[in-house]
C-alpha cells in the first residue's frame, strides 16, 4: 500500500511542480526568488530515472552568491517527494537581462 502511494507521488512530479518548488530559493541580494528573477530557463523531470534537471543562469558570471544559489537549487530539488537525483546546469547563453524578471519580482524590486 505504501509503495503504491510513493509510486503515485513520484509520478505526480512534473516540471510545473518543480518550478514551483524553486520559488523557495531566493537571490540573496535582490531578495526575489530565482523563478521570478528570471534565472530559471528550463526544468525537466525524467520519470524513469526520477531525475530532475534544471538549466539556469546567474545575473552575472561574477555573481559571488552563484554557488550558494546552485547548491540551494540542488537541495530544494532533492527535497521534492519523488525526486531521487537532481542536476543543475548553469548557462550564460542567452545572458540574463532585467526583462526576464516577472511582474511579481518587479514589484519586490520597486519598479
Amino acid at each position: 500500500m505504501k509503495d503504491e502511494e510513493e509510486q503515485e507521488e513520484a509520478v505526480s512530479v512534473d516540471a510545473v511542480s518543480l518550478r514551483e518548488a524553486l520559488r523557495d530559493v531566493t537571490d540573496p541580494e535582490a531578495g526575489v526568488n530565482i523563478v521570478d528573477m528570471g534565472l530559471v530557463y528550463d526544468v525537466t523531470f525524467d520519470p524513469a530515472s526520477r531525475r530532475a534537471s534544471v538549466t539556469m543562469t546567474l545575473t552575472t558570471p561574477f555573481c559571488p552568491a552563484g554557488n550558494a544559489m546552485l547548491d540551494g537549487v540542488h537541495r530544494r530539488l532533492m527535497r521534492v517527494p519523488g525526486v531521487e537525483d537532481a542536476n543543475v546546469e548553469v548557462v550564460f547563453d542567452p545572458p540574463w537581462s532585467p526583462e526576464r524578471i516577472s511582474d511579481a519580482g518587479r514589484a519586490i524590486l520597486g519598479w
Binding site: 552575472t60 555573481c63 547548491d71 530539488l77
Partner: protein, 425 residues
C-alpha cells in the same frame, strides 16, 4: 563562475578587520569630540595629525584591507596568495599603526616614531605583495581592476613617504620642506589609495548590489586617467617643484576626474534593477557630494589668493570632507552591503533550499541605517561649517552627532552579525 568560499580568506579574518575598523571609527569619533574646540589654525598640529591618522590608519585602513582580502580574489578569480601571511601582516600592522598614532598624537619624535612607522609601512608592503601576487595569478581585467591596481601603487608610495616623514621628524635629513612631502603623502593616501579603491570597488559593488548591467565604461576610464594624471602632477610638483601651474592643472584634472566618475556612477545607477534607494546609496551619494566639495576646495586652494588664515581653514575643511566625508561615508555605506552579504554567505547560504532564509538586505531593517546616515552626514556638515566659520560650538555639536553615528554603526553591524536563522514552525 566566482565562488567566494573557494577564493577568499576565512570569514573570521575579514570580520576581524571590519571589527578593528569599527573600533577605529569609534575612537576617531571620541577624539573628534574631545578635540573639536582645537580644530583650527595650521594643519601641522598635534590634534590634526592625531585625528587624521586615527581616521586613516585606525578606521579606514583596516576596513580597506579586510575588503581587499575579500574582494581582490573574487575580482581577479584567483585564490588569495596567502591569507596566513596577510593575517600575520595585519597583526604587525595593528601594533605599528597603534604605536605610530600614539607618537603622532603626542608629537613624540624619538626613535619610536620611525620604528612604529616602519612596522606599519612594512605590514602594508606585505599586504600589497600578497594582493599583487594574487592579481598576477588571476585573469580579470577592466576598470575595477585598473582602479584597484592603481590604488595599491599609490598606497605603496604613500606609506613610503609616510615612513620617510616619520624618520625625518625624529632625525631631520630631508633636503626639502617636510610640508611639501606631507602634501604628496596625504594626497597619495587620500585620493590615490582610498579614492581609487573606493571608486574601483564602489563601481563593482554598485553593479553587484544594484543588479545593474551594461553600463558603458568610457567616463570611468576618463576618471581613471585624469585622476592618476592629477596625482602624478601633484607629486612631481611637491617633490621636484614647486610649480604653480602644475598645482592648478592638477586640481583641474582632479575636478574633471571626479566629474567623470560621477557620470560613470550615474550610468550604473540608472541601469539598476533594484530600484529602492537604501542607506548604502544615500551614504554613497553623500560621499560623492563630499568629493565634489573637496574638488571645489582643492581648486580654491590651488588657484585662489594666498590669505594664510583663510587658507588654513580651507585646508582643514578640505581634509575633513575628503577623508571623513567622502571615504568615510562610502566605506560605512558599503559596510552595510558587504557585512550582511558575508553573514548571509557563511551563515544562511548552507540553509538555502532546505529552509526559509532571509535575503541579505533583510538582516537589518532600513530605519536604523538611515538614522545612522543622517547623524553622520549632519555631523560632518556641522564640523566643516564650524571649521570654515571658526565656531567651536558648531564643531562640538557636529562632533557629538558624528560620535552618535559611530555608535550607531557599531550597533547596526553587531545586530547584522548576530542575526540567526528563522525558527521553523
Amino acid at each position: 563562475m566566482v565562488d567566494p568560499a573557494r577564493y577568499s580568506p576565512p570569514f573570521a579574518l575579514v570580520r576581524a578587520h571590519f571589527a578593528a575598523g569599527v573600533l577605529g571609527l569609534a575612537t576617531f569619533a571620541g577624539l573628534l569630540l574631545a578635540h573639536a574646540a582645537e580644530l583650527g589654525g595650521h594643519h601641522f598640529q598635534k590634534p590634526h595629525l592625531l585625528l587624521v591618522h586615527v581616521a586613516a590608519l585606525g578606521w579606514l585602513m583596516p576596513v580597506a584591507l579586510g575588503a581587499m582580502l575579500q574582494l581582490v580574489p573574487v575580482l581577479f578569480e584567483a585564490p588569495l596568495a596567502s591569507w596566513k601571511i596577510g593575517a600575520a601582516a595585519s597583526v604587525l600592522y595593528a601594533v605599528g599603526a597603534s604605536g605610530l598614532v600614539g607618537h603622532l598624537g603626542t608629537l613624540s619624535v624619538g626613535w619610536g616614531l620611525p620604528l612604529t612607522a616602519a612596522m606599519a609601512a612594512g605590514a602594508i608592503w606585505i599586504h600589497a605583495a600578497v594582493l599583487v601576487l594574487t592579481v598576477v595569478r588571476g585573469r580579470a581585467s577592466g576598470l575595477t581592476a585598473a582602479f584597484v591596481l592603481a590604488a595599491l601603487a599609490h598606497l605603496l608610495f604613500a606609506v613610503t613617504l609616510g615612513f620617510l616623514l616619520a624618520w625625518n621628524l625624529c632625525a631631520p635629513y630631508l633636503p626639502l620642506s617636510h610640508l611639501v612631502v606631507l602634501r604628496a603623502h596625504a594626497h597619495s593616501a587620500a585620493l590615490g589609495f582610498f579614492g581609487m579603491l573606493v571608486m574601483g570597488a564602489g563601481l563593482r559593488l554598485m553593479e553587484m548590489f544594484l543588479v545593474s548591467r551594461g553600463a558603458p565604461e568610457l567616463p570611468g576610464w576618463i576618471a581613471f586617467g585624469t585622476l592618476n594624471a592629477a596625482l602624478v602632477l601633484l607629486d612631481a610638483s611637491s617633490l621636484l617643484g614647486p610649480w604653480e601651474a602644475a598645482d592648478g592643472a592638477s586640481a583641474a584634472l582632479a575636478a574633471v576626474g571626479i566629474g567623470a566618475f560621477a557620470m560613470q556612477a550615474r550610468l550604473v545607477f540608472v541601469r539598476r534593477v533594484r530600484r529602492h534607494a537604501d542607506a548604502t546609496w544615500l551614504l554613497s551619494g553623500a560621499g560623492l557630494a563630499h568629493l565634489a566639495s573637496a574638488a571645489g576646495l582643492g581648486l580654491a586652494l590651488a588657484l585662489g589668493p594666498a590669505m594664510p588664515a583663510l587658507r588654513d581653514r580651507l585646508v582643514l575643511a578640505y581634509g575633513l570632507v575628503a577623508i571623513v566625508g567622502f571615504a568615510g561615508s562610502v566605506v560605512v555605506g558599503q559596510l552595510y552591503k558587504i557585512v550582511p552579504f558575508l553573514v548571509w554567505l557563511h551563515r544562511f547560504a548552507p540553509l538555502a533550499g532546505t529552509a526559509r532564509v532571509p535575503a541579505a538586505s533583510e538582516l537589518l531593517a532600513e530605519r536604523p541605517k538611515r538614522v545612522q546616515a543622517a547623524l553622520m552626514q549632519s555631523g560632518i556638515v556641522l564640523v566643516a561649517a564650524g571649521i570654515l566659520n571658526e565656531s567651536a560650538g558648531l564643531r562640538t555639536v557636529g562632533a557629538g552627532l558624528f560620535a552618535a553615528s559611530a555608535l550607531a554603526v557599531a550597533g547596526n553591524l553587531w545586530a547584522i552579525d548576530r542575526r540567526k536563522p528563522f525558527k521553523e514552525g
